[in-house]
């Protein structure tokens, strides 16, 4: 480590170096946010960004290539691909946000309990282990087969898949501090379990959980798209990006715009979210700094 610091110090000097260092610290976070910003705008202001209905079928304008009227062309039902892409951002972000909020709630709750109470640890541990046996996507398919395709059910199944990992992270942080002196001190002055766990212990786990949730968000977008592509996720005609790719598969020879645009959007969203995760991790946990992308 020490020779690395000397090495960087010799490279630049003064102001430029300081700026460079600060930029390097956060550059993944910033690039990620820049990538995600237009997608978030699209999702929030969908109805203001396009006057076209993503669901209205127009037999006279099927499979039109990109033009001024339809910047991303139209699909096999004559629906505007741009409008569908914009409303598709809503589906992806809703699923990602919804599943990560649920994951945070259950993951933190069960993680804290599992790290603190030994009797609960045994039960919760078995439960998370048995969920983590399955290759992730297979578990998603199994759950969707049981509860049926719908957007809400995608949220549920992503949550079930991701909660075990958050439980483990939270549990590990709680276990690490269980015997810390501040815990004894708090106990001595009569702080109860609830206050101890929520005010003193939970903040220790908050950083790693934030990082995990931002990667989880990216992953939720991919899972939603994959499930919808297989016909097990958001049911058509809702404009999910995965649905759009599934509908486009019969037209890859004739209408390239139908498949390239939703896939590009998924890539952009996942890339942006992963970069935000990397940036947060570097900020919150410098020990793992080397693992970053840029």
């Amino acid at each position: 480590m020490s020779n690395q610091i000397i090495h960087t110090d010799m490279k630049g000097s003064g102001k430029i170096l300081a700026w460079n260092r600060r930029w390097r610290m956060n550059r993944m976070l910033i690039i990620g946010l820049i990538m995600l910003f237009p997608l978030a705008l699209m999702a929030i202001f969908a109805s203001a960004m396009t006057f076209l209905d993503p669901l209205s079928i127009d037999a006279s304008s099927q499979l039109l290539p990109p033009s001024l009227d339809h910047p991303f062309g139209t699909d096999n039902f004559g629906r505007d691909v741009l409008a569908r892409t914009i409303y598709g951002a809503q589906v992806s972000l809703r699923v990602g946000l919804g599943s990560m909020l649920l994951t945070a709630f259950f993951g933190i709750f069960f993680g804290v309990i599992s790290g603190w109470y030994k009797w609960a640890d045994a039960i919760i541990g078995r439960f998370t282990d048995s969920l983590m046996i399955f290759p992730g996507f297979v578990l998603a398919i199994m759950i969707m087969a049981a509860i049926g395709p719908s957007e809400l059910n995608v949220v549920i199944s992503v949550t079930v898949l991701y909660v075990p990992q958050v439980i483990r992270t939270v549990r590990a942080s709680i276990v690490e501090f269980r015997t810390a002196e501040f815990v004894d001190a708090a106990r001595t002055v009569g702080v109860g379990d609830f206050r101890l766990l929520s005010v003193h212990m939970f903040p220790k786990a908050a950083g790693p959980v934030m990082v995990q949730l931002s990667f989880g968000f990216a992953w939720a977008v991919l899972v939603e798209a994959g499930l919808s592509f297989l016909g097990l996720g958001t049911p058509p005609p809702a404009p999910s990006w995965g649905n759009m790719i599934a509908e486009a598969r019969d037209f890859i020879r004739t209408a390239w715009w139908m498949i390239t645009i939703p896939g590009g959007m998924i890539t952009l969203a996942v890339l942006g979210l992963n970069l935000i995760g990397d940036g947060l991790r570097d900020m919150l946990d410098p020990r793992l700094k080397n693992r970053g992308v840029l």
């Binding site: 996507f137 087969a145 798209a225 790719i245 390239t260 896939g263 998924i266 952009l268 992308v293 840029l294």
Partner: protein, 316 residues
């Protein structure tokens, strides 16, 4: 080492029991009826409906169903598929090789490209090769594999007409006939895995290269290639092998989608169709065998990990 291996293999037994139990309860958790899917739009009387229900054992309680189901699956009998009208295990075994070829070839490609690229990025840290490999791996991990599959089809099958767009031939038709239909699926499946392996290889190599014994090895005047490939890589391998195992499990999950894109008649395609039709027996059997492969690979990785890392081997 032998003792560790034995212990690890024995721990397999409860894992299998947990796997089977989870599969049973998750797939039947919500009483969504497979009967509706079975009869489709035919008009069926209430009596006939009842007959089908009791035929399938769906009139019994979940626990009763489980107690009947569990002993029979232990003997490898997952029952009869509602739609294929054939024993589940038979159908699964027919489809199995396709999935195994796909995942194994992807894994080989992932290791051959991912590990060297990760090492290269780590020794050229902060320079062009590092940036290039980072952009490549981040993009690879962000692209949905099924979408990448279609892009490959557009490029190599539609535009260039070099390879078939989809379908499968068994090796009996000749090696090339078999192989050329696997090239695009393997590429589509591998890219995300390569991205992950590159990143993890780079990270663990950098951890190791920063340690003092590496400086020592360099100070002794050992050639750089020997320092990197022997001293550093052997230690980094413990972490890398774990990631490779994880990647394989990920790949098995991903193969489900890839098989759908390229119309490969593998286990993944079978599972998806069974999921859509709620063909419980097929779904349970298919998922069990897919998970079993992941577990076996995981076991192999753990043993390799112990081999590379004596601290694990000798711990109680």
């Amino acid at each position: 080492m032998v003792e560790y291996a034995l212990r690890r293999v024995l721990s397999f037994v409860p894992t299998i029991i947990i796997t089977l139990t989870s599969i049973f309860f998750i797939t039947r958790m919500i009483p969504g009826s497979p009967i509706a899917a079975l009869i489709g739009h035919q008009a069926v009387g209430a009596e006939q409906m009842e007959a089908i229900t009791s035929d399938l054992g769906l009139d019994k309680s979940l626990i009763e169903q489980y107690l009947e189901w569990f002993p029979s699956v232990l003997t490898g009998d997952f029952g009869t598929s509602l739609f294929y009208e054939d024993s589940v295990v038979q159908v699964v075994m027919e489809r199995f090789p396709v999935t195994l070829y796909l995942t194994t070839f992807s894994m080989i490609l992932t290791i051959l490209i991912g590990i060297p690229l990760g090492i290269w990025a780590s020794i050229r840290r902060g320079r062009a090769p590092d940036y290039a490999s980072n952009v490549f791996s981040s993009l690879g991990m962000a692209m949905p594999s099924f979408w990448l599959g279609f892009l490959l089809i557009i490029l190599f099958a539609v535009t260039l007409d070099w390879l078939p767009a989809s379908g499968y031939r068994s090796p009996d038709f000749g090696i090339w006939e078999w192989l050329k239909r696997l090239i695009l699926p393997v590429m589509a499946q591998s890219l995300a895995q390569i991205g992950l392996v590159v990143r993890m290889t780079r990270a663990s190599m950098i951890d190791v290269l920063d340690q003092e014994y590496i400086t020592m090895a360099r100070a002794k005047g050992l050639p750089e290639s020997r320092v990197v490939l022997k001293h550093a890589l052997k230690n980094a391998m413990t972490q890398i092998s774990t990631v490779v195992g994880l990647t394989f499990a990920l790949g098995l999950g991903g193969s489900v989608i890839i098989e759908n894109v390229f119309a490969l008649p593998g286990l993944g395609q079978l599972i998806t169709i069974a999921a859509v039709r709620r063909d419980y027996a097929m779904l349970e059997g298919g998922i069990f065998y897919l998970t079993l492969v992941a577990l076996i690979v995981n076991l192999a990785v753990d043993l390799a990990y112990a081999y590379f890392n004596p601290r694990i081997r000798h711990a109680t």
